[in-house]
């Protein structure tokens, strides 16, 4: 596990330097503090969702959460609808967290109680959640997010967006501590890798996975809250593509898709790399269609490098 992450980080750092250097040569005007702020602002949503995604995938059992994007959209819509319906504004953050967690726990029930394959279960809820968000709103945004949220959502501290400083960094630090230094963390790696042995020693695998899906929903709910505070409105398509980009970040960050291997530092690094790349391509006026293709090629490349290394080591 450690030998895997130890090479992931240098690779990601190298790629990141390459991208920044390329951008500095091609578009020197992009080298500004405001670019850093933009990158981190966009990173916040992806980082939160990727954290939840990583926990689900680390827990193994073919775990995956394809519904995260739909959850972000639907939570944002639900929160703003309740807000306009007269629910006190100060409750909006609570609504986001509760709604996100509940939507995530629905996945948990489908997977751990009804024994649906996670890929199928969360693909289903992805359609339900994102479809509902679009249907309720007819596709248009709901404006008028509470004013008290905006200074936090748009504020910066030395160029760092406040949501990044107050949510992403502390949550990743806590999650890393949890995985590395607590019994719960060891259990996640244990049943993520070898479910049968974990069950034999009495680890409550199903309950833990149920919680992991709830946690992924909670992170999606937080991302919805950040989007409201940042944009000032709820967009029914705000979560679009987050399921795929978060998957990309998790795998790029060195987490094995079969679970039990990898760490969260790599995931955060991969999030920053992906958003830097996207922002850079945007600055260079590269068509968004090409951007998606480039990210896909990057994912395949990094996984290939990793595979070759694994084959060499076992040979």
């Amino acid at each position: 596990m450690s030998s895997r992450t130890s090479l992931t980080l240098p690779i990601l750092a190298g790629l990141w330097i390459l991208i920044v250097a390329g951008l500095a040569i091609l578009q020197p005007s992009a080298m500004a503090l405001s670019t850093v702020t933009t990158v981190l602002q966009f990173s916040t949503l992806l980082a939160l969702v990727s954290l939840g995604q990583a926990m689900v995938i680390l827990g193994g059992g073919a775990g995956i959460d394809l519904s995260v994007g739909g959850t972000v959209s639907l939570v944002a819509i639900i929160a703003m609808l309740l807000d306009t319906a007269g629910v006190p504004s100060f409750l909006l953050p609570v609504v986001c967290l509760v709604a996100g967690t509940l939507l995530g726990l629905v996945n948990g029930i489908l997977v751990t109680r009804l024994r649906l394959l996670p890929l199928i279960a969360t693909l289903g809820t992805f359609y339900v959640y994102s479809g509902t968000a679009l249907a309720i709103t007819g596709g248009s945004a709901i404006g008028g997010a509470p004013a008290y949220l905006l200074p936090w959502g748009r504020g910066t501290l030395a160029g760092f967006p406040l949501p990044f400083v107050t949510l992403v960094l502390p949550l990743f630090v806590l999650a890393v501590l949890l995985l590395r230094y607590t019994a719960w963390g060891r259990w996640i790696y244990a049943f993520g890798f070898n479910e049968r042995s974990a069950r034999l020693v009495g680890i409550p695998v199903d309950r833990a996975r149920f919680i992991a899906y709830g946690f992924s929903g909670l992170m999606a709910g937080l991302a919805a809250l950040v989007s409201l505070a940042w944009l000032g409105s709820a967009r029914p398509n705000i979560g679009q593509n987050l399921e795929l980009t978060s998957l990309t970040a998790v795998m790029l960050g060195g987490v094995a898709i079969f679970g039990g291997r990898g760490g969260l530092v790599g995931v955060l690094a991969a999030v920053l790399l992906l958003v830097t790349l996207q922002t850079g391509l945007l600055q260079l006026n590269v068509n968004t269609i090409w951007q998606v293709g480039i990210i896909g090629a990057l994912l395949i490349l990094v996984l290939l490098v990793d595979n070759i290394r694994m084959i060499r080591r076992t040979a």
Binding site: M1, L178, Y181, T182, A183, W184, R186, W187, Y189, A190, F193, N194, R196, S197, A198, L200, V201, G202, I203, G260, R261
Partner: protein, 256 residues
């Protein structure tokens, strides 16, 4: 006289119309290695699954220290001091030796309800256990994935010792091992018994059994058909029990 550590009385196990175990009596005393022999499907594995709490018995009772017990799960059996090392060992290869030994029952320090690991204490205890077994594994922080088959058996045995197991059940511990590794594991089995624990060993290897066992029980078609002190028997006799060629077995099977 003190009661035996474990006494199984008239244990039967039926799966639908199939009788996998038929009224098996067996006692196990502390400090001895009992080998269970028999063909595939003879009922050995079913018997240890009943003892280890994985399957409930259809009939009969189990006594620990002379008191009847009921095992609803492997955890119940573990509480009673019975640890089972399954053939596939049930180790997590991505975790370290120490983490595997303590998996599911880690030493922790609670901070705000969160169980933080006491890594150093666990490492120290595992080092002690490995020394006690003379297992020749230097680093308890090494990942189990990097160990040989025999070393993995040692880790699984460490886990059993760490549970304060009084009976260790081992299912074919030497099946996939090279000669030198097999030696090592048989030494571990002997050392377990010499330290006052009881060991039940399932094996197909007559040579291993005669090297390490004190007593041998032979299963055939769901029954225990013979039980011998090792000193009072030889491999030929045991083989004839297993295959059913022994006159006693024939007589028994004529009756039924």
């Amino acid at each position: 006289m003190t009661p035996p550590l474990i006494e199984a009385r008239q244990i039967s196990k039926r799966f639908g119309a199939l009788t996998a175990l038929n009224a098996v009596d067996l006692t196990i005393r502390s400090g001895e290695v009992l080998a269970l022999l028999g063909d595939n499907g003879a009922g050995k594995s079913t018997f240890i699954k009943v003892l280890s709490g994985a399957h409930p018995a259809s009939d009969g009772e189990i006594l620990v220290d002379g008191r009847p017990v009921h095992f609803a799960s492997p955890q119940d059996a573990a509480e009673a001091g019975i640890a089972t090392i399954f053939q596939e060992l049930a180790l997590s290869e991505n975790l370290s030796i120490a983490e595997n030994v303590f998996l599911g029952r880690e030493m922790t320090r609670n901070v705000l309800g969160v169980p933080f690991l006491k890594r150093r204490a666990m490492k120290r205890q595992v080092t002690g256990l490995l020394d006690e077994l003379d297992a020749h594994i230097s680093d308890p922080e090494a990942p189990v994935g990097s160990l040989s088959g025999g070393q993995r058996q040692a880790v699984a045995i460490c886990r059993a010792l760490n549970l304060d197991a009084r009976l260790v059940i081992m299912d074919e511990p030497t099946a996939a091992l090279a000669v030198a590794e097999t030696r090592k594991v048989l030494q571990l089995v002997r050392r377990l018994a010499d330290s006052g624990r009881a060991v039940i060993l399932i094996s197909h290897n007559m040579h291993d059994v005669f090297e390490v066992a004190d007593r041998i029980a032979v299963f055939r078609r769901g029954r225990k058909i013979a039980e011998r002190e090792r000193r009072a028997t030889d491999p030929e006799e045991i083989v004839s029990f297993i295959t059913g060629a022994h006159p006693d077995v024939r007589a028994l099977e004529m009756q039924s």
